[in-house]
Each structure stands twice: as structure tokens, then as C-alpha cells.
């Protein structure tokens, strides 16, 4: 795979404050990467560095083989960007807005209808001034401009904020299509949960420092968080005899946390006596727990 974006020990300071410290990563073609961190962790600064809107204090950023701060036409043309809480010129209509950006990117505007349909912007809204748009509609228009000219790199800053769940789903379908076409998609988010099964790779940053980088499975493995096993016994009065610290839940269920290494063994012992069990549920660590784990580990250091 070829790296479409590379950052090498990139740092950015504002005044005396370091917004990004020594961050290294590579983003590859056909990969969807989630950039996760709290608000103010440095996600937007990293995206601005990749766009060449700001210059690194030290280190370097390479986009499609060039320095983004030089503003090469072919690099800028191949990048789609959706800013966090995107805004447009209020007086223009959606169609006029998109036509303006298409001209700047030297993209044929004839396929506008397809683009509007693709992002789910209703036909009757397209010719209304942006002033009348809801936040979700603005977000869709923002997405439409980011998709102009089939970009090879998409940088989406908090793309799903303001979208309702149905649209969110639609949005992630769109991302999958782009990934299949070989585009690099970077999604920033302050929550991991909704990214489950969406991102090939997760990069977690905290206070400007990269603290984790890998697939979700890799991160789970590194974190080795316990799995929770929840059971209901056939005999409501009994308590479970298997080893582990069982505790009773409000509804009469029992719960135990078990390390990944011991999980299979415990399940084998429990299922060997099926008559004792009424139900059994496994809860793998959620992404939020995983995220909290990495942040906690960072804080402890």
C-alpha cells in the first residue's frame, strides 16, 4: 500500500502552548482511519496541518508526495475537506454554493444532481438559500462539496455531528463506497462508539500526543480489558459456583469480569452444566471503555 498522508514527528505550537507534539503516522490509500480524541486534543490542528492551512513548528507533513503548505494545485484538487460545524455564505442557494466550489476545483458541475442525491439533500432544498437550512442540511451540503471531483483524500472533521441516525447510516455507506474506490478517509470524532466496524484503524490522541494507533482488534488486544459475562440461573435462589467474583445485578442476574485469557475456559465449564443456566450474555469491552482505558493509561504516565 502507498501512503497518501505521512506525518513525521510533527509538532505545532501556538504561543507557548503545544497543540500537537511529535505525532507520526501514515495514512494509506483505501483506508478509513478514525482520529479520536477529546475536544481540544489536537484533532483539528492535525487536520489543518494536513491541509497546509498552518505550518508545523517542527517535523513535516506530506500529502500525496508534496508539502501541503505549498498549496500545489493537484494536491488541493485531490483533497476533500469537511470542516467541523461547516458554514456557508447564507445568501446563496445550495446549488450556487456547490457551483462556486466546483469552479474553484475545476470540476464539471453537471453531476450536481447525483451529488445532492448521494448526500441526501432534498431537491426542493437545493434552490433555497443556505440561510434556511437546518444543521443537518448544512452538513449534507458540506459533505457534497467535500466529495466534488472524487477526492483521493477525504478529511472529515466531526462529520456526523448534527446528523440523525438514519442519515448517519447513509453517511457511513458513502464512506464505504469511497474506501472501495481507493480513497483515504480520515474521520475525526470525540467518541469511539459510533465508529465500530466503520474504521480500519483508530488513532487516539490526547493533549496533542498520539497515544494509540492500530485496528480496533489490536487496540483491544493491547488494552486486554476484561469481558463481562452475565448469566441468569435457572434456580433464582442459588448463586453461581464457578470461580470468579460474581456479583448480583438488580434484575436477579449475575455478572463477573473475566480476562480474555480465562474467558474460554470459564465458558466451557459453565456450558458443561447447561441445566443450571437460563441465559448467558457476553459483553465485550465497548469502544468507550477502550477509549477510557487508553486515556487513563496516558494520564497515569
Amino acid at each position: 500500500m502507498t501512503a497518501s498522508v505521512t506525518t513525521t514527528s510533527v509538532s505545532k505550537q501556538y504561543g507557548g502552548v503545544a497543540a500537537v507534539k511529535d505525532v507520526c503516522f501514515e495514512l494509506n490509500a483505501g483506508e478509513t482511519i478514525a482520529l479520536v480524541g477529546h475536544n481540544g486534543a489536537g484533532k483539528t490542528t492535525l487536520i489543518k496541518l494536513m491541509l497546509g492551512l498552518i505550518r508545523p513548528t517542527s517535523g513535516s507533513v506530506t500529502m500525496l508526495g508534496g508539502d501541503p503548505a505549498r498549496g500545489d494545485f493537484h494536491v488541493r484538487q485531490s483533497v476533500g475537506y469537511l470542516p467541523e460545524s461547516v458554514s456557508f455564505h447564507m445568501a446563496l442557494t445550495g446549488r450556487e454554493t456547490l457551483a462556486f466550489y466546483a469552479r474553484l476545483k475545476r470540476v464539471e458541475f453537471s453531476n450536481a444532481e447525483i451529488l445532492f442525491k448521494r448526500v441526501g439533500l432534498a431537491a426542493e432544498a437545493v434552490d433555497r438559500p443556505v440561510r434556511t437550512y437546518s444543521k443537518g442540511m448544512r452538513q449534507r451540503l458540506g459533505l457534497a462539496q467535500a466529495l466534488l471531483g472524487t477526492p483521493r483524500i477525504l478529511l472529515l472533521d466531526e462529520p456526523t455531528s448534527g446528523l440523525d441516525p438514519a442519515l448517519r447510516h447513509n453517511f457511513y455507506d458513502l464512506i464505504s463506497e469511497l474506501r472501495a474506490d481507493g480513497a483515504t478517509v480520515l474521520l475525526s470524532s470525540h467518541a469511539l462508539t459510533e465508529l465500530e466496524n466503520r474504521a480500519d484503524r483508530v488513532i487516539i490522541i490526547d493533549r496533542g500526543v498520539k497515544i494509540a494507533d492500530g485496528t480496533l482488534d489490536e487496540l483491544r488486544h493491547i488494552a486486554s480489558l476484561p469481558t463481562r459475562v452475565i448469566i441468569r440461573l435457572s434456580d433464582m435462589e442459588a448463586s453461581p459456583q464457578w470461580s470468579g467474583e460474581w456479583c448480583r445485578q438488580a434484575g436477579g442476574a449475575w455478572e463477573v469480569s473475566v480476562d480474555a485469557a480465562d474467558k474460554i475456559d470459564l465458558l466451557k465449564r459453565m456450558t458443561s452444566e447447561p441445566s443450571l443456566l437460563e441465559s448467558l450474555t457476553l459483553a465485550e469491552p465497548t469502544l468507550d471503555e477502550l477509549y477510557a482505558h487508553f486515556l487513563g493509561r496516558q494520564a497515569a504516565q
Partner: protein, 275 residues
């Protein structure tokens, strides 16, 4: 070049949609027509050419109004987009920063030029329609006045762009713009007059006076329009013009510099700034 036109076109489109174009055109036309017909009442129809009277009154109007309109349009051009969040997206596009500044400037200049031509032109049209005979010399002076008025607008647009790239907040830009307007349009001339009075009739070196007149674009504009021809006798500017060696070409060059230099500095400032 393409990008500059694209940006300029969008600015005009927005100006039309925001009713900026309509509002300024109506304002200028309304005031120009009022001045034309009120102004012709005292002189009647004898003696002076009526269009010369109109030139004098319209120039005086332009000195107050055009800088104000230009600053209102331009002070928020960059800082406003930055604050509303539209600038960051624009900068991520394959468009140079100077192309953004120059394109927006040209867009605003077109709006201003359109309003001035239509608004002031309405006064001339009204005179012709009411049966006044106008000499070719007066037409020429009127055309020069229109050109100079647009140039004056360009000067203050340019100053507005400089303000807009230098400050961090829209409200600051607005405050500075009002200050600049007050300074050039009101305070400067008062101070100049005060200085001349304080000099108590001692002759002020011609070079100093020339410099002081060129240092304020509104004074250069006033001298350009009212310093010669029939208008100079009407406006009383003939006296100042006679004592000064500033010719129309020098005044025009001064105004052009006033329009180019602040915009040039704005470009440099904007190119260095981090979004």
C-alpha cells in the same frame, strides 16, 4: 485569473442577494436626484451650466458617502469570513490567498462602481430629461467625476481590506473602519484648517500643503473634481488649487497609489497569516 473571476463573481452574486447593490444604488440615486433638483433651485436656469452645479454637489456627497459605503462593504471581507467559518473551507481549495483577496476586492469594486454609475448617472439623465442643454465640457467633467468617485471608492475598499486582514475580530474591524472614516472625512480637514488658521496668514510652504493634500485621499479627490473648470469657481476650491502645483495626473496617480498600496499590504499580511 480564473479563480479571481470566480471569487469576484460570487461576491457580486452575494451582494445582489443581500440587497447591498440595490440599497446602495437607491441611496446614491435618491440623494443625487434630491441634490440635483434642490441645487438647481437657487441658481435658476441662467448663467452657470446646471451639470456643473450637479458635479459640485455630487462630489461633496461622494466624499462623505462613498468612503462610508466602501468601508462598510470591505471591513468585514476577510475577518468576517474567518469568523463565520467560511474562510477555512475556501483556503483548503486550490485557490491562492492573493486570488481570494483580489477577487473579493474586484467583486466589491464592481458593486460600488455599478451603484455609483447608476446612482449618479440618474442625476444627469434627469437633467437631460427635464430639457437642460449640457455643454460637452460639462459632460467631460461629469465623466471625470464619475471615474474619480469610483477611484475614491476603490481607495477606501482597499483600506477596508487592510483593516480586515490586520484585526482578529469583526467588531474591531468595524470600530477601526469608523475611526478611519471620521479621520479622513472630518477630522483631517478640520485639523488642516486649524493649522492654517494658527499659521495666521503666514504663507505655508507649497510643498507641505501639497503633501498634506495628497496624504488624504478625500482631499486629492476634492481637488481633482473641484480644482479646475467651472466647478472650481462654483465650489471655491479654485483658490486652493491655484496655490498648489498638483495637476490632475498627479492627483490621479496619488489616488491610484492609495487604492493599490493598502491592498498590496493586505495581501502580504494575509499570505503570512495562519488560518
Amino acid at each position: 485569473m480564473n479563480n479571481i473571476l470566480t471569487v469576484a463573481r460570487k461576491e457580486i452574486q452575494e451582494g445582489r442577494r443581500n440587497r447591498w447593490v440595490l440599497a446602495t444604488t437607491l441611496l446614491l440615486a435618491g440623494l443625487a436626484l434630491t441634490l440635483t433638483f434642490l441645487g438647481s433651485a437657487p441658481t435658476g436656469n441662467v448663467g452657470v451650466n446646471q451639470l456643473d452645479v450637479v458635479i459640485v454637489s455630487l462630489s461633496s456627497l461622494a466624499i462623505f458617502l462613498l468612503p462610508l459605503i466602501a468601508l462598510l462593504l470591505s471591513h468585514d471581507a476577510i475577518v468576517g469570513e474567518s469568523e463565520r467559518g467560511t474562510l477555512i473551507l475556501l483556503l483548503s481549495y486550490p485557490v491562492g490567498r492573493s486570488e481570494i483577496v483580489i477577487g473579493k476586492f474586484l467583486g466589491h469594486l464592481s458593486i460600488l462602481a455599478f451603484s455609483t454609475l447608476i446612482g449618479f448617472g440618474a442625476a444627469a439623465v434627469a437633467l437631460v430629461a427635464s430639457g437642460t442643454v449640457i455643454s460637452p465640457a460639462s459632460w467631460r467633467a461629469f465623466a471625470i467625476m464619475l471615474g474619480a468617485s469610483i477611484l475614491l471608492g476603490a481607495v477606501f475598499l482597499s483600506i477596508g481590506y487592510l483593516i480586515s486582514t490586520l484585526v482578529r475580530e469583526r467588531s474591531t474591524a468595524g470600530g477601526v473602519a469608523v475611526g478611519i472614516w471620521l479621520f479622513f472625512v472630518l477630522i483631517y480637514d478640520m485639523a488642516l484648517l486649524g493649522g492654517l488658521v494658527a499659521a495666521q496668514g503666514r504663507s505655508v510652504p507649497a510643498l507641505l500643503l501639497d503633501g498634506l493634500l495628497l496624504a488624504n485621499p478625500t482631499d486629492a479627490y476634492r481637488l481633482l473634481n473641484l480644482g479646475s473648470g467651472a466647478a472650481s469657481a462654483l465650489s471655491g476650491m479654485g483658490g486652493v488649487a491655484a496655490g498648489s502645483s498638483l495637476s490632475a495626473p498627479i492627483l490621479t496617480v496619488a489616488l491610484l497609489l492609495w487604492a493599490i498600496v493598502p491592498l498590496g499590504i493586505a495581501n502580504i499580511v494575509f499570505a503570512r497569516r495562519e488560518a
